[in-house]
């Protein structure tokens, strides 16, 4: 455990040194080295805990009476540490090359980057309410500064403020949550809260607050509004870190709440399942309508958080109904999807970063044909896209399969509840999966296939080795987890001990069953890879393999085709977005066609976020209208301000003397 804290300390120290160093290259290198070393040190206790050992928490005295500063690792924390420890160093490595050596100094960027990494690790180990909130805030604020990296741009500043406001609304809910929890259990330590959990009265209210507070960070619909703003604004390695791992702290918070309160009623499970389904479906539908690659990916984060939440909800229902199969498969699928989503979402954001680095734009409609010039980026992006869409033979398929499998085993329980659940979960997962495939066919197809639509896309260059290495490693992990599917049952078994350990479930039967099924799945994957390899070799060995001929792509008898005649992303997605138009409310602007041979015409669509436009904007407008008269008090006149002080003073004096 000391190693973990030492690692975090090292990261913070490295960030501070990077801030002090004048030279950008040296600053990046220092920050990178400290992140790598810190994560390597932290990995030792994490692996030890996951392999079944328990380690002693670090207890420190601090000035706060009645509580101890405890840092500890249980299996749940350790499992969540895994993606954090994998993604952070890779993102740092990528960032070093992505940021390059601009005019401005990068010291502050690296300081906040290292602070973010360290605070996320500390958050997972903090076992005291006060410390938890402190590192939660450090995490929020440092990621805010990372989002604001390109603060010269109006758009980025706006995104940063949206994020800051959203995250603090969440924090308010969490403060209330912890205050009620602490006052009802008379303890601010996690251990003490668990010991006194029978004294909790307002369980329902506590869960509502926790789901709201942590849901803002995780990105539940409709609390997700900051995601599609902040992720496109941030530098790509920061988006990868934030979308890949930081939003998972919200999921961790909800799981931690379940272990703290121990409230496992069917209502909570249903609530989580429904929240998950809503987030999942709306996330992917909005992703379909986006033109900006990173914005599209941000909406997919909402979708995947939805899938994770469905899994957790199924697990909670399993506890409530005493069905170990649902517990294992639900929680297992949710947790594994946390890890998997971290891998492929970071991979996709890094790929998007390579595209924007190479072309200078993220607008899908301006790209095209990148496959020829960016081979590595394109192939790793394709693996990530297939994985996120839940297609075999990659890791996304495995974790979604867990949840499907939970649905199937629910049907076999032959009671109404699980059967309804199974119908809900399987239908919505199928819908999400299908739409995700459509969305990534659009994203990959328009960006990487076809012909370059603009000169920007034509003059693209491949990312350098330092940017490609993390992407290749992540893609490799996506493939590896797909092939190692049977072994994942042992991986997800560990955190289940913390989540459902006290309920006395016996998971051996379902574990064995799952392992057998995944054994077949992995076998099929292996055969698939072998067949693909054989086909590839046959094609290579054929005499015509190396002949290259160039012709116009869409000739069809037309004499002068241009790249602008290609299918666009909007038209590709149009049948589906039309289907969901009541939800999307896409704004279309077009000029009327005049004459028989119209020369210039235009068509433009924009899909604003329905939650932002429909829920938050009216609320904030109302608040603003109500309190703006107060702004007249802040007129900037010094004498006026002094008058306020004088009036306050005199009123206080008279009050004190007279009554």
């Amino acid at each position: 455990m000391e190693l973990m804290l030492l690692g975090c300390l090292l990261q913070i120290l490295g960030g501070l040194i990077a801030l002090a160093v004048r030279d950008n290259n040296k600053a990046s290198l220092t920050a990178n080295l400290s992140v790598w070393l810190g994560c390597a040190l932290a990995a030792i206790p994490v692996i030890s805990v996951l392999s079944g050992n328990s380690i002693n928490p670090v207890r420190l005295e601090w000035s706060l009476t009645g509580s101890q500063l405890v840092f500890g690792l249980d299996t749940l924390s350790a499992f969540f540490c895994l993606p954090f420890l994998v993604i952070s160093p890779l993102a740092a490595m990528y960032g070093r090359s992505y940021l390059g050596n601009p005019e401005r100094r990068l010291g502050s960027h690296w300081l906040f980057f290292n602070l973010l990494v360290a605070s996320m690790l500390l958050l997972l180990t903090a076992q005291n309410v006060i410390m938890f909130i402190i590192v939660w805030e450090v995490m929020a604020v440092s990621s805010f500064f990372l989002v604001m990296h390109d603060h010269e741009q109006e758009k980025v500043r706006k995104a940063g403020w949206t994020y800051l406001i959203a995250t603090h609304i969440g924090t308010i809910a969490l403060l209330v949550f912890f205050a009620i929890l602490g006052s009802e259990t008379h303890s601010l330590d996690f251990g003490g809260i668990i010991a006194n959990r029978k004294m909790i009265v307002h369980t329902g209210a506590l869960f509502v607050l926790a789901i709201f507070g942590f849901g803002v960070k995780a990105g539940f619909f409709p609390l997700h509004v900051w995601l599609p703003e902040a992720h496109p604004a941030a530098p790509s390695h920061v988006s990868a870190l934030m979308s890949g791992v930081m939003i998972k702290t919200g999921i961790y918070g909800i799981l931690r709440t379940i272990t703290l309160i121990g409230y496992t009623d069917a209502y909570l499970g249903w609530a989580l399942v429904i929240i998950g389904i809503i987030s999942g479906v709306t996330g992917v539908v909005f992703a379909l309508a986006q033109h900006d690659l990173k914005r599209l990916l941000a909406y997919h984060s909402v979708e995947n958080i939805g899938i994770i939440t469905i899994g957790i909800g199924v697990g909670v229902l399993g506890i409530a109904w005493k069905l170990p199969a649902l517990v294992f498969l639900g929680f297992g699928g949710g947790l594994l999807h946390v890890l998997n989503h971290a891998l492929f979402k970071s991979l996709l954001f890094l790929g998007a970063g390579a595209v924007s680095h190479g072309t200078g734009t993220l607008d899908i409609e301006l790209l095209g044909g990148l496959l020829k010039k960016m081979r590595w980026t394109a192939w790793t992006f394709l693996i990530g896209a297939a994985a996120i869409a839940g297609l075999p033979p990659f890791n996304g398929f495995i974790s979604e399969f867990y949840i499907y499998f939970a649905g199937i085993s629910g049907v076999r329980a032959f009671t109404p509840g699980p059967i309804i659940l199974a119908a809900f979960v399987m239908v919505s997962l199928a819908l999400i999966g299908g739409l995700a495939v459509a969305c990534f066919s659009k994203a990959f197809g328009i960006v990487f296939l076809g012909e370059a639509r603009t000169t920007k896309a034509a003059n693209v260059h491949e990312a350098d080795l330092q940017m490609l290495t993390p992407m290749v490693i992540l893609a490799g992990l996506c493939v590896l987890i797909g092939l190692a599917a049977p072994l994942t049952v042992y991986l997800v078994k560990a955190p289940l001990g913390t989540l459902a350990g006290s309920d006395g479930f016996d998971f051996t039967g379902i574990m064995h069953h799952t392992r057998t099924v995944f054994g077949y799945v992995a076998l099929i994957f292996g055969i698939l890879y072998i067949i693909s390899l054989v086909f590839y070799l046959i094609k290579k060995l054929l005499p015509r393999a190396n002949q290259v001929s160039t012709t116009g792509t869409w000739d069809c008898g037309y004499a002068a085709p241009t790249a602008r005649m290609q299918y666009t992303a909007s038209s590709f997605a149009q049948p589906l977005t039309e289907l969901f138009r009541s939800l999307l409310r896409t704004r279309k602007t077009s000029s009327r066609i005049k004459g028989y041979f119209p020369a210039n015409t235009e068509f433009h669509t924009e899909t604003p976020d329905v939650a932002k436009e429909g829920i938050f904007a009216p609320i904030f407008r109302l608040i603003n209208n109500r309190i703006s008269p107060l702004r007249q008090m802040q007129h900037g006149n010094l004498s006026g301000y002094l008058l306020y002080i004088a009036i306050t003073l005199i009123v206080l004096l008279i009050w004190k003397a007279g009554f």
């Binding site: 802040q634 007129h635 900037g636 006149n637 010094l638 004498s639 002094l642 008058l643 002080i645 004088a646 003073l649 005199i650 004096l653 008279i654 004190k656 003397a657 007279g658």
Partner: protein, 221 residues
């Protein structure tokens, strides 16, 4: 003792009615000397080294050093006269009398330690209120600094009137703070005057970053 308090009150009224900063500074200097004498006179029978230090240092700082600093600033910036105060000098005097009544009422009604003198407390309260009032009602920044000094004098007098066990180290620390404060304000005033050609507080909204607040365009140097 009470005569000293009355003199201090009168000196405040004099500041309220005077339009020339030079006069006001001189009055504040006299106030400082009186205040320095106050703790010494108050415990004439059993004087200790601590009280001597508090009294003498108060006298030196408030009566000599700070007024000299202010005079210096006045000469360097060449401010002559408070031309258009928010509240005219006549009204100020009338309001001063209201404030005096208010502070007397507060001093009588406030629960004070047994050995505190109500007259001194009323005087101290009056000094504080007049300081605040001057700060609000005058336009020239130098008058604001003076007002700050008057208010500070009031706090000092309150300390003396309520208890003599006021630890003199704290008292000396406060004196040093005020000295640094006035020194900085003087310097700031000088630079403001050089940059903006005026030291009117109502026009200092020009310095604000917020464009919406500044009402009139800046008069650049």
């Amino acid at each position: 003792m009470n005569a000293l308090a009355v003199l201090l009150i009168l000196s405040c009224l004099l500041i309220l009615g005077s339009s020339r900063p030079r006069v006001a500074i001189q009055v504040v200097a006299v106030q400082g000397i009186f205040l320095g004498l106050l703790p010494i006179l108050r415990s004439w029978e059993h004087l200790t080294a601590g009280i001597w230090i508090v009294g003498i240092s108060g006298l030196v700082f408030k009566g000599i050093l700070l007024p000299w600093l202010m005079q210096n600033v006045l000469q360097r910036t060449g401010i002559q006269k408070e031309t258009a105060p928010y509240v005219s000098f006549g009204t100020s005097l009338l309001l001063g009398i209201v404030l005096l009544a208010l502070s007397a009422w507060i001093a009588v009604n406030l629960q004070l330690p047994a050995d505190a003198s109500p007259v001194l407390t009323a005087m101290a309260m009056f000094l504080v209120l007049v300081g605040l009032f001057l700060m609000m009602s005058r336009r020239k920044a130098i008058m604001q600094t003076l007002a700050y000094l008057v208010m500070e004098n009031g706090v000092y007098a309150l300390g003396v009137s309520i208890s003599l066990e006021f630890p003199y180290l704290v008292e000396l620390g406060i004196l040093l703070d005020i000295f640094v404060g006035v020194f900085l304000m003087g310097n700031l005033l000088f630079h403001l005057d050089r940059e903006l050609q005026h030291t009117d507080v109502d026009k200092m909204t020009e310095l604000s970053d917020l464009q919406t607040i500044s009402s009139e365009p800046g008069r650049d140097a």
